[in-house]
Symmetry: C2
Subunit: 514 residues, 2 copies
Amino acid sequence: MNALTRRGLLVGIGAAGGAGAMYAAMGALGLAPAEQAGAFTPPAPGDFTLRGRASARVVIVGAGIAGLTVAYELGKAGYDCTLLEAGERAGGRNLTLRGGDRVSETSGPAQEVRFGEGVYFNAGPGRIAPWMLTMDYCRELGIPVETFVNNNAHAYVHTKGRTVRARAARADMYGYIAELLAKATNVGALNRTLTKDDKERLLEFLRRFGDLGPAYEYDGSSRRGFVKYPAVTRGIPLDPPGALHQILAAATGRAITNDFGYDQATPMFQPVGGMDAIVRALTAAVGPGRIRTGVQVTGITTRQNDVEVTWSGGAHTADYCVVTLPPHVLATVPHNLGAAVQAALKTPVPVAAGKIGLEYGRRWWEIDDRIYGGITETDLDITHIWYPSHDYHARRGLIVGYYASEGQAELYGALTPEDRLRRALTQGKKIHGEKYRSELLSSVSIAWERRPHIRGGWARWPAFDSSFTLLQRPSGRVYFAGDWLTYLIAWQAGAMESARNAVTQLHQRVLQSP
Amino acid sequence: MNALTRRGLLVGIGAAGGAGAMYAAMGALGLAPAEQAGAFTPPAPGDFTLRGRASARVVIVGAGIAGLTVAYELGKAGYDCTLLEAGERAGGRNLTLRGGDRVSETSGPAQEVRFGEGVYFNAGPGRIAPWMLTMDYCRELGIPVETFVNNNAHAYVHTKGRTVRARAARADMYGYIAELLAKATNVGALNRTLTKDDKERLLEFLRRFGDLGPAYEYDGSSRRGFVKYPAVTRGIPLDPPGALHQILAAATGRAITNDFGYDQATPMFQPVGGMDAIVRALTAAVGPGRIRTGVQVTGITTRQNDVEVTWSGGAHTADYCVVTLPPHVLATVPHNLGAAVQAALKTPVPVAAGKIGLEYGRRWWEIDDRIYGGITETDLDITHIWYPSHDYHARRGLIVGYYASEGQAELYGALTPEDRLRRALTQGKKIHGEKYRSELLSSVSIAWERRPHIRGGWARWPAFDSSFTLLQRPSGRVYFAGDWLTYLIAWQAGAMESARNAVTQLHQRVLQSP
């Protein structure tokens, strides 16, 4: 998600101050080595053996990506970790659904997943930016990654009831803004801003940027694509573009700038075979025996010399605890961490998010539409349609029929699974026609705000204020971790960064404790 | 290659005329089904058995992609095809080099390829656009394809001696042109062009497009990237952008619009494991026994009832011949096809093209620079640096240290392989530093204009004139095929389209002959 707005960044520039100057001296271009890894040093066995100290027992509440990463990093130094997971399996929102799986919600019927062999649906996170820590863990854990197509010029843009290829929407918008700016430049409107050299360079750029004609006019471009692409003959172009007024009224702006953000820029990545490859690899590294599933914690008590975690019919005592539950879920668990902690936990607002996976027996989007991966952007309530970036030309395939958040996700989540499907098909048909319904094999939808023990797609802080920083530090012997404690909310990388933060603090404390 | 300029397209709009109108009626948006496959119907055994006719013997000169495709399609109907290939192996410019291979040129020493296990270098074509026929053949032949990253926001742009991330170059240029156009709009310079509604929509778009501030000013954006990306803390931004004058003087325009063309737009694709998977699959389908290598044709004679192809020490007679040599090579072969054909063959100009593959024992571009695939664009004579879009996080990897054509390729091609390497490393070091040289394991370079039997990267028509159309038709019993006979020059798709064109004409003739 676009956790940082531009305004947020500008606040950040002020806040960073001295550190920014230091890093700038290292190379203002992001060239500093290991820029993302930062200063994290994983705990190592030698940390204890060389200092004559013993490692500690740590109980981790929640076996999502944050909890697994905490256990994995602490495990490198021999900590005795126990993970308590309320659900039936580890992974949290990192959930990949396959045939035979069953998806339950807090109310309503469970869905049986009926996908064929090899078909999967990343119901939670689905993409990774190259600068994210998630890539480091994939490398460290030997998880093969492949390209995730986040921008496809050959996918569609559907706005105001009309469907065009993304490449055409982009060429037209760029063409006209280049023409307008060239016109303004040539009539002297920017003479006070631009030198003669600037003007020449700007015009040269605009001609290239907009594919303008000799008089800096935009009247179409091969960049828009063709009815029949060039081959033995020259190709049959599309109809000429609409007039400027029509192009502006089409409101394609959001769609064609969708990958401009630092967290959405091309290329992105995904683990081969499903996002839960990360869960499997972390689980294997942690040791599956350390994870107790079906344990819903009902109490957390920090004490002078230890911490106790209880549940219906059981309790676990350890030296330290790391809680990785979502804040709105943790806020419902009795604890003795104090009123400030409780108030802070209640500050972030859970956000609804949902997706639907649509399985087809024929990859018509590849065969008929020549869309290999990427996203069709719409102004419908489905927002996006994702096409798979893997197993191209396979027989079956799965597209994501909506990926909605906030109000639109609540709207879909409130429906029965059958009605979600019906609605998604009605919308998608507007773009892809009758086959969108007629060729469907099966589907499954997820409404994260209705998932037991999770109850939200992610959490939104009204402001990154003192509640946020309070929970980045321990309360007694209890540490907190999760993507919601970072500026990478809704990204696995956030969970991993937060886990490293908790691990670093906990390990330093253990090493320094008498 | 960008075979079609915008001007070329506009000529095409006029030329297409009636057909354009017809296709437009089918849906102006490229929505017509099977838009690329066109009207091609592969020959089928039933074409003969149902009509009481016999198939024919066809000799194909050149076993590159065009020749292989001709043999493959004719073979579907049982034609008796023989391919004569001057080189040691089939594939032509579709050449993937691996450890143990040997690369020879028309003069100078041969290069031994020393790459480690699993490392390969696509020395010829390296990428496929989704609308291209190449994708259809990959599907039909069961060749797995994966995404080729043709635009990477995290790669670099190196111009005027400075290196920035592509995302920063793009954000700054877009930011400033949005600011300038907003300014011109707000001072009324475009009042005669824009209605009030237009203005509002334009300003809304510009704010989004340039990530502008409240007064429509550009003063940086998180889209530029960070020194340290957001995590537990807010992230450390880059230094603020240069002033407008500096950004324009940096001349990043070519680099940041590099994938705007219809043939370069994101995403693109490649066969898994190397481009020559296409050669292997076509060869297997054709039957390797039909390909005679090391046969350099010295004569082509079309006669009343057959055609004879001769070489030193041998001859082959068939009913028809399809010649797929490059035009400048074919023009040196004695034939009886007439003066007009010979003049036409001499019209296209061979173009030099070269690449160097640099093998490293560590994927420092992934680990240090977080560049996973994509291209760094430069104004140096290396033009581009390509990073591999496959086997991410593998131990070894190969980058393309230059991909040059025309004059810059001639410059590199004229050097010894050692000097090509030395020069490429000197240039690449300006971007990537000393490791670019010190961590190199091995390299191999190709200069297509110096390759025996090929002698060019591709051919350029001064104009797509009557010589071009003359050779799209047979001369006697001899047909011509190759990418150079299409508007997809330098693309394998061109060779395939041209092959289908020759196959269609030849098969119709055989079916109609008495």
